[in-house]
């Protein structure tokens, strides 16, 4: 499992674009929003939690189709399926690798983007905490969507349609945490809910992902 993780990570680093592309996309969304809604600081700081979370979600979505597509095309995926490692483990590792290449850099860079959107100073802790706890769920759900559509030639658009409704609870709790943090309210409840979703998706979704992979490899 560790070897697979290291292989995926080094592939992402050496092929280029793994870390950078998602971050650049995140930056562009954050830069575009003030053009859309106007530069008033009060408006921006009010919508900043939602924008940051939606941007993180779209940036995660952008790189989903690369989780399995390349492995499927060059035949690595059947090899992984026949290896002694259970396919559930492969699914889990793929999700973790996706999180390390997209979710983790996003989480670390998010405070800088919050600065651009004039986020309330008291919300930075909650922004970091909610992204750190919530983006792994985005990666696991996305891995499931990628497994469903891996056999399709033009699966990208369909995958967005399948994955985005699944992101709704994560988005609600994540953005709610930051919003409450910015207003100085009790933000721990939505944060705990978010952690619950993440733990639940880590526990259950690898099984769904691997069963979808098995069907597609049949």
């Amino acid at each position: 499992m560790i070897a697979l993780l290291r292989r995926d990570l080094s592939l992402a680093v050496r092929a280029g674009g793994g870390f950078g592309l998602g971050l650049a996309f995140f930056l562009i969304i954050v830069v575009l929003v003030p053009f859309g809604v106007g530069p008033e600081a009060a408006v921006l700081s009010r919508i900043a939690p939602g924008i940051l979370w939606v941007a993180a979600l779209l940036a995660a979505l952008l790189s989903l189709d690369r989780i399995f597509a390349l492995n499927f095309e060059d035949g690595t995926l059947p090899l992984l399926a026949t290896s002694p490692l259970p396919l559930e483990g492969v699914a889990l590792i793929k999700g973790v690798a996706h999180w390390i290449t997209t979710g983790l850099p996003l989480t670390l860079a998010a405070p800088a983007f919050g600065f651009l959107l004039n986020l309330d100073p008291s919300a930075y802790v909650w922004l970091l905490a909610s992204l750190a706890l919530g983006t792994p769920a985005l990666s696991m759900i996305g891995t499931f969507g990628a497994a469903l559509t891996v056999g399709l030639r033009r699966g990208g658009l369909l995958m967005s349609l399948l994955v985005l409704p699944l992101y709704v609870p994560t988005l609600i709790f994540g953005a709610e945490t930051v919003r409450r943090g910015a207003l100085g309210l009790d933000a721990i409840t939505p944060l705990l809910m978010l952690a619950g979703i993440t733990l639940g998706s880590f526990a259950l979704l690898p099984f769904a992902t691997s069963s979808a992979l098995r069907v597609n490899l049949k």
Binding site: L148, L162, E176
Partner: protein, 242 residues
Amino acid sequence: MSIWEYANPKKFIATTTPLVPWVLGVAIACLVVGLVWGFFLTPDDFRQGSTVKIIYLHVPAALMAINAWFMMLAMSLIWLVRRHHVSALAARAAAPVGIVMTLIALITGAIWGQPMWGTWWAWDPRLTSFLILFLFYLGYMALWEAIEDPDTAADLTSVLCIVGSVFAVLSRYAVNFWNQGLHQGTSIPVATGERTISDVFFVPLLICMVGFGLLFLALVLIRTQTEIRVRRIRALEIRMRS
């Protein structure tokens, strides 16, 4: 004699073909009686005026929209466990009916909300979760269409249906947390049995609910038969070509 005998497509068609006209007939009779009674023979509500009458379309459609998804979930589980093709096809057949029911509920709700709440749409938990349900139906149907091999499509949509159900329920409670509602609570709580709706409105509403349920059943049976026949034609074409 077990219920699984009807999983044989031939037996399924043979049993349901004579049933369909009856179910459809009773459904139409119920709908005509319920809607005419509801629209023309009940008094106007003293606060809502005649707009209250949209309840006879809105509530049954919303009820069936949710139950259609549950039926698809049950059919998906049966397909994954017992590999009966009829159940996969029934799940496929139910999706378009369910999405239309969802749309009816959303549109009639908007028409009712305009004079009553002063807005066509509000980001209320019930409304929002219905919109999310609509998106789930869309994704489910799109996945069926996208995959060519029928067995693969049945497997993948079944997995999606199960995962989607979990997330749909999660979303339902998450949006409750996110925004307090404008939508009134149910007038007919099944668990407590205390109704806040007068019998004058309740009896035609009940008839409409039965009518919508039977209509859903009839449409799903017809559509399932169609799917089975499409499958047969495809098999025949392949055999003739080889």
